[in-house]
Subunit: 211 residues, 2 copies
DNA sequence: GTCTATAACTCGATAGAC
DNA sequence: GTCTATCGAGTTATAGAC
């Protein structure tokens, strides 16, 4: 291994360490506490040294968003189910569980800064996690759609509505724990049942189909 | 009118002027641009003078949130309709229209700072706009409920789910205009139809944005 | 080539002169 | 009541030590 390789490797290691420390600060104290000085303190370097590895604080935030989005995508991917309806129910739970497990990152991705959110949806650096995640949901609704339950509403529209609903539940909870008095998982379950047209089990089927 | 009254009045006028200027900056440039120095510049005072009328920047933000929430409440109150289902449809439209008309204030209320969101839901200074708004929706669902369409799901739960869905649509649009490819008003219409259990009339209804 | 040290600028907020 | 001066904290750019 040449000295040049060693140098590159060390550089990468330091860069990753900056990201790790940043993630920890974000997780425990929120984005406002994620300052260059604090990160520098944690990795035992000067604040200016960070700028050799990252262009700005925003860029660090962006990478944390990308990583968070990949985590969310992985959770969704790990959801299995024979029929699309139960899979959608699993997606809902997985989505809310992710937001609950790492609210500060979720906030950073979807609530904090429009530029960051935009970056998540436009840049390719996140490994296509955003498209992939939505793709899973669209696929499920497409399957559901082949049962021809609904006409005039495309799977894409249902997928986006589904996502928006989950995001509403997750983000309201993050913004204010007291905003919703009902349990968000229960609301998500009701929502999923509605959107997939599955009657709640506690009551059998109450209404007919549509032809 | 005594000199003391005059003084109090002038003080109130200046205070309102600070709020007006702040609101304008928020509306046009976002919360980040709302700095004490900029406000001071606009009202032609020193930055320190503002602290005679407001305890902090946060307090200014809070009052802007309260005012915004009252505006939202007014829009919801102006929705009329014979049956609860059409009223709910109107609420959905009014809600999204408000968020669209003043996205920066909406962001401040529900997305920016947990402390602000919490204040909106706990403090009484907003004139009970938050409770009032939710109350309108709960009432509509209670009416709907008397038709005994749904059992096992309370009107309160439906109201919160309804609100969360609308918030999801509004906040996603604000966070990133490209997040949703479908028209949010159409999605809201689908959502409302679902949650009120009204089958879509294959395609008859219009989905225009502005009434 | 890398990092430190430092300076230039932003901000919110406060103390004290007038 | 108002301003000036200033503090502490923040981001960022750069000069120079190693």
């Amino acid at each position: 291994m040449s000295t040049i390789d060693r140098r590159i490797r060390r550089k990468q290691v330091l860069r990753q360490k900056i990201l790790d420390v940043s993630r920890e600060i974000l997780l425990s104290q929120g984005f406002a506490a994620l300052t260059m000085r604090r990160v520098a303190e944690a990795i035992d370097y000067s604040a200016a040294a960070i700028y050799l590895h990252f262009q700005s604080r925003e860029q660090i935030a962006q990478e944390l968003c990308f990583a968070g989005l990949r985590h969310l995508y992985e959770r969704l991917q790990s959801v299995t189910g024979k029929d699309s309806a139960t899979r959608l129910s699993g997606y809902a739970r997985a989505y809310l569980e992710y937001a609950q497990s790492d609210p500060e990152t979720y906030r950073l991705i979807f609530m904090a800064d429009p530029q960051l959110t935009k970056a998540v949806f436009t840049h390719r650096d996140s490994g296509g996690a955003a498209e992939g995640a939505l793709g899973l949901i669209v696929t499920a609704f497409t399957e559901l759609h082949t049962g021809s339950k609904k006409t005039g509403v495309s799977p894409m529209e249902l997928a986006e509505l589904f996502w928006a609903g989950l995001h509403g539940l997750a983000s309201l909870r993050i913004a204010c724990s007291r905003a919703l008095t009902s349990d968000e998982f229960r609301l998500a379950q009701i929502f999923t049942a509605e959107i997939t047209k599955i009657e709640e089990k506690s009551h059998g089927k109450a209404q007919g189909r549509k032809g």
